[in-house]
Amino acid sequence: MAEPSRILNYVDERFFVRDLRAKSKDGVLKELAEYLSQDKDVRDATLVLEMLRKRESLGSTAIGSGVAIPHGRTLAIASIKVLFARHQKGIDFESPDGAPVHLFFAIVAPPQDRNNEYLPLLGTIAELVKEKKVRGMLMKAATFADLRQILEGWGDE
């Protein structure tokens, strides 16, 4: 597995969301865009939200087992950002297995990223959350430090 610890280059404390409040799929997208817009590299929250919505119309970004990875490129972003968020109760996100989604990793990238980091990063996250043990730990993570520990400690075994 590609080093999950490199996810930490794109996520920080503000992008660790313990409990999402939204009650619908679109509500979650809105909340994710709002959290992301706290960063100065995010030029426009509206554009981020509209991009995430369009990506869902192409096909749900839920990949089963209670995980969704909303992602895409937008002019509204100056550099790649990753946000981790959790919904305790679970949200219907039109997942292929029909299961409600509890764990979200949102990835937003600029239209061009110089080192082509975006797709490999998306792949690393998709691969990471396939591990049942990782999902269990992510469900329990209480702080950003816990998330950091999970990402640092996984993948070398």
């Binding site: 119309s57 192409l58 096909g59 089963g64 490129r73 937008t74 002019l75 797709l119 792949g123």
Partner: protein, 121 residues
């Protein structure tokens, strides 16, 4: 003055460009295949194309003409500005170009590459 209306016009064009990029990537066999291997579905291309057409109707026709004309030369017809640098061609913008004094009825463009500038002060 960059008023709310200017922002709205730039947002509309930017979103149009985001949709077009998303369509291009979904049409790209390699990108599509990689995303599908990761477990994502990309079955809604027709829906997305329809959304693009609907969105094009939301854009001011005059702006759309400018956008389409530039897009023929540059797939990214609208680009952000950072530290007075056009992120389309990476040239510094002359001081005569200034969002604070620009004509709100005209889209600001880069004198060097001609792209529309997503620039608000």
């Amino acid at each position: 003055m960059s008023d709310g209306r200017t922002l709205e016009r730039l947002q509309k064009l930017s979103h149009l460009q985001d949709i077009e990029l998303m369509i291009r990537e979904a049409e790209d066999t390699k990108t599509k295949q990689r995303e599908e291997e990761m477990g994502f579905t990309l079955q809604g291309l027709e829906k997305l194309r329809a959304a693009r057409e609907k969105w094009r109707n939301q854009v001011d026709p005059k702006d759309l003409r400018v956008f389409d004309r530039i897009a023929k030369r540059h797939p990214r017809a609208i680009v952000p500005v950072e530290d007075r640098i056009c992120l389309g061609c990476y040239m510094a913008l002359p001081t005569s170009i200034n969002p604070a004094t620009a004509d709100p009825d005209r889209l600001m463009t880069c004198e060097n590459c001609g792209r529309i500038l997503f620039w608000l002060e």
